[in-house]
Symmetry: C2
Subunit: 305 residues, 2 copies
């Protein structure tokens, strides 16, 4: 499918794409670049790429496709550095969870003359662990890959990227970057932020023994720690780069939580029951939409590898 | 172990205890009572008890042990109704998630003369589905059973109840009701409340398509819907009966969330990174404490039965 492919950032997602590319023979040569030398060493030992490079320019030289799988905050500098060294027609794509800033940060360094193409994408998949050792090729199966076309996208490149992710068994969706960032703020960014926040709160409570919190964590807290165990750099960059939407949603959430607090204070049991019945119904819809529990289970199994 | 045992409330937890009692032959006769006639019919079809009763007094007649597995808000009226019909030495126990109110509501109806014993208990286990069909005997394995002794508890009865739950393969812990309610507010009640709240918020967002929220729920939202799919009546009663502690914790949580909101607004990436690194460390502690993922996986598997 491609001659040379370079993956920038060989962490959990990057290494999983690498595994797909190797497994499906999608590139003649697959190169991994990372600033983390341990990751590069592990990637080599895992045999998930043909070559590792700690020199960015050498890594992207003659590449036909470059996949950004590093935190979105790194895109601008990476692009600025590599663009002068890329050949005409090179496709850059990414896997970031925010798309407006990704497009802005990449495209500001691409000139008309360079002939470089960018296809912003987001595989809605992943686990809450980091590094090349926790990746696996099946991570993307039956999940959605969202493409958000922009000024530097071409139909041909979009088709190629779609085919690549279809090989990872993903379903392809196309939407505007703005719509993507809005939907993800609600279904992914806000829930992650709340999880980070509550784990911090509970861990900091004065007058509680940390050990006891951990001991009884199976009663609810544990599920939040799983989400709050996600990569700190990646999430810092997501929150800072989808700021306006996230700030608005936090506000909405706090309003609703305060209303709930008031219901509890004034013993408004009927209101609580009404809300909890609605959320129970939503859970049923999530289950009915697909076999979510099967996917969850598979993910947990793979988590343990 | 017992002659006649009566389980009041044959839902997810009640039916799981019933399965343990049948499997381990812990009672000569096991009776299930519920206000939900469908549950009683299902319990009979599942053969998890010897007899079902929709008459409370008939259900508890001659019982040696009565297990409350109904929402904590029902305890007072049930106790008031059954106490005059119980024989001397009858043990009442429960599985509620709040213990101070459970003890208050039960013991106010027990006189010195009645000879009735109460042992408040809480199996820290369960899944987010309701009804007798979703229960299973292995639910309690390797989890903690907390006993909170009170005025009407006897050493002998505590030993009996401990042995019963040890047969369900639970580890036994003893603490004061006050301490139980404080710890559970942090590790269980607050996380559940936040999950109910965020699922309500996200589902209600104007300008979003419900269908799209469900479609991309795998990116974080789904995990919250699982927790927010828990039984509405049970959780209403928990929040109203552990009110003071929960209200205080909500306040603490909102403070921390607002601080986080401010960090995002002012691009304080270092602060975000610091918090997320701490929560990642806590996740590692949860995993190291036990094989939590194995338990999660087992639970999910059982969820699908």
């Amino acid at each position: 499918m491609f001659d040379k492919v370079t993956i920038i950032g060989i962490g959990m997602i990057g290494s999983s794409i690498a595994r797909v590319i190797k497994k499906e023979h999608l590139a003649k040569k697959l190169v991994a670049y990372d600033v983390n030398l341990t990751y590069l060493k592990q990637a080599l030992e895992l045999k998930i790429c043909d070559e590792v490079q700690d020199d960015l320019i050498a890594a992207v030289k003659d590449a036909e496709l470059i996949i950004y799988a590093s935190p979105v905050g790194t895109y601008s500098e990476i692009t600025r550095n590599i663009v002068p060294h890329l050949k005409d027609g090179t496709i850059i794509t990414d896997v970031g969870s925010v798309k407006r800033c990704a497009i802005r940060d990449v495209e500001k360094h691409i000139t008309d003359e360079s002939g470089i193409v960018f296809v912003a994408g987001h595989p809605v998949a992943g686990i809450e662990k980091s590094g090349p050792e926790v990746g696996f090729a099946e991570m993307f199966e039956d999940r959605w890959f969202i493409i958000t076309p922009s000024a530097r996208s071409t139909e041909e490149a979009i088709t190629k990227i779609s085919k690549l992710w279809a090989k990872a068994k993903m379903k392809i969706d196309i939407m505007t970057p703005k719509h993507h960032d809005k939907v993800m703020a609600a279904v992914s960014h806000l829930p992650h932020l709340i999880a980070f926040s509550i784990v911090g709160t509970v861990a900091d409570l004065e007058g509680y023994e940390q050990q006891e919190i951990i001991k009884y964590s199976a009663s609810g807290f544990r599920d939040f720690t799983r989400i709050a165990g996600s990569d700190p750099t990646m999430w810092r960059d997501i929150f800072l780069n989808n700021k306006e939407t996230i700030l608005e949603l936090i506000q909405r959430f706090v309003e609703d939580l305060i209303a709930l607090q008031r219901n509890i204070r004034w013993n408004e049991g009927d209101e609580l029951f009404k809300l909890f019945s609605r959320t129970q119904k939503i859970r049923k819809e999530v289950i009915e939409a697909k076999q979510h529990q099967m996917e969850e289970e598979k993910r947990l199994t793979n988590n343990q590898k």
